[in-house]
Amino acid sequence: MNLDVIVNLLVNGLATGMLIFLLASGLSLIFGLMDVLNFSHGGLFAWGAYMGVWVYVSTGSFLLAVVGAVLGGVAIGFILERWIIRPIYGNHLQQILVTLGVMLVLSELLKVFWGPNPLNAAVPPYLDGSWQLGGIILIKYRLFIIIVGILLLVGIQLLLTRTKLGLVVRAGVLNKEMVQALGYNIKRIFSIVFMLGAGMAALGGVLLAPYSGVIFSEMGMQFAILAFIVVVIGGMGSVQGSAVASVLVGLSGAFMAYYVPDLSLAVNMLLMVLVLLIKPSGLYGLKR
């Protein structure tokens, strides 16, 4: 076992962890604030990837692709929240069932627009290639994902702790009724948080596309399963928990994929089962 392999696995694990974080933090925040477990979140992720690749292929600009995917994700999020989620607030079973239906429709729509076959996604030239650092090869694009992930993590933390909106959101997670009683329009806050989560999911998707090189409509569900494992481990409603658990799941996935490839999902599931047995509210979860 040499250093080169370990560093590369670390980078891989962190990069995957960051992508999962983009998905899981939105999921967790939406659940914490609105009590809605959004089973269509993976669909937004896949839509982000497809829209990003489409924009990239037609314009040739990766920046435009990212912006387009995020805006598209936010727009889909707005529509979902306004016409699908809002009419059924407070009804758990109905939400679970409807959002899964939305997931089905979203991934079928992908096939209607872009065909049922997987699409190839290219890395933009200025992020392609690798650096060599004393015999260790570092792939540029993976480092790029990690940097973007860290920036977003810091950004969300700042948003939550330093702004008025963040204050209201955190208060809403603790006690919705009180926030409402103090005169804040909780519905608007819900809407904003949902759109934010949708945008981050789409960003995760568009960043994943060049990383994995190929995108397909089922990838939404695959990543959603990882994101669910992450929110259970990290604790519903906690961005910090999602971050820690995402890195954990990403790293264990990368190392297991190298040493015992067949068991990587099993290890993450085991981790989740362990957390459920010992602390069902998750590592950073609030008591409910």
Binding site: L93, I96, L97, L104, V105, M221, F228, L276
Partner: protein, 332 residues
């Protein structure tokens, strides 16, 4: 008039069963017999899902795993050990026992938590089984799957057709008995008001675990039957689409009625057959499931009773003028 209409509705299932029993004498086209056999099997699968969703108010997104366990149990035993009648029974038994163990473990872990956890965890467990079936190539042959022989007795499509028909009728009666038993009443009480049921002294978690094991076992039997229909098994039995089939059939057909599952299964399988043949007209029909996805969302949001329930309510309304918007027998 009212008496007549009540009797007609009571007679309807008997007439349908008689027509189905007579069907092979009128038309023994292989593909139609297979299609109808599949409808019977999926009807039972949807009914087992209805026990969870419609009668207890539990949402599972991993029902495919029990179906897949049953299908693979049959396939592997028939292929590796032998295709005698005794081996078939052994294979069904293996599938049932495995499904019972898995559903028990998953249930114990999550059914005491909020409903979200069961949905998420069953989804993740089903994902795990898909990976297992893909990776354990020495036994499952990976993604491609494998064909296998079945006992001579069931090789005749007409025999198997009757077997599947009897399977459906038997399980409809058994599951109806189950839901009308004292145990079934407690399940419905949990659906209506969990806290109240708990405060009346019932161990809610125990009852939930029991129903999830029963539903898992029935689903495993359906998986076994499905394997026998196709004489082939691959990883698609574990896929999300199998769970979605159960979900769409149960909800569109009408939850909390059992026979809603039969209506849903017939509707979806027939539509699948019809719409994919229309794919030449317009490629959108290749994606026929999208229509059912939209219909499903509409049903969950606006007509939570589904076809069977709305029809039942419509009949009741004629007698007692209950407003059509009233939602009894629905967990949400």
């Amino acid at each position: 008039m009212r008496m007549i209409s009540r009797y007609t509705i009571g007679l309807l299932p008997i007439v349908i069963i008689m027509l189905l029993a007579a069907y092979p004498f009128m038309n023994d086209s292989r593909s139609t017999l297979i299609l109808l056999s599949k409808i019977f099997i999926f009807a039972v699968f949807a009914m087992s899902y209805d026990l969870l969703l419609g009668y207890t108010g539990i949402v599972s997104f991993g029902h495919a795993m029990f179906f897949g366990i049953g299908a693979y149990a049959i396939g592997i035993v028939m292929y590796k050990i032998g295709d005698s009648m005794g081996m078939l029974l052994l294979a069904l038994l293996i599938g049932v026992v495995l499904a019972a163990i898995v559903s028990y473990i998953v249930g114990i872990l999550t059914l005491r938590l909020q409903s979200h956890f069961y949905a998420m965890l069953t989804l993740a467990f089903a994902g795990l089984f898909t990976v297992l079936a893909e990776k354990w190539r020495s036994i499952t042959k990976g993604n491609d799957g494998f064909p296998f022989p079945i006992p001579d007795f069931f090789r005749d499509r007409t025999t198997f057709y009757y077997f599947a028909l009897v399977f459906m009728i038997l399980f409809f009666l058994l599951l109806r008995r189950f839901t009308k038993s004292p145990l079934g009443r407690v399940l419905q009480a949990i659906r209506e008001n969990e806290q109240r049921t708990a405060s009346l002294g019932y161990q809610v978690v125990h009852y939930k675990v029991i129903v999830s094991v029963v539903a898992g076992v029935v689903a495993a039997l359906c998986g076994g039957m499905y394997g026998m229909t196709l004489r082939f098994v691959n990883t698609s039995v574990f896929s999300m689409n199998t769970t979605l089939d159960a979900l769409l059939m149960t909800i569109i057909g009408g939850i909390g009625t059992l026979y809603g599952g039969v209506i849903g299964a017939a509707l979806i399988e027939l539509a699948h057959e019809l719409l994919t043949s229309l794919a030449k007209v317009h490629p959108i029909f290749e994606r026929w499931i999208i229509f059912f996805g939209l219909l499903y969302i509409l049903v969950v949001m606006v007509f939570p009773l589904g076809i069977a329930g709305t029809f039942k309510l419509w009949l009741k309304r004629k007698k007692t003028s209950i407003p059509l918007g009233k939602r009894d027998d629905v967990p949400w």
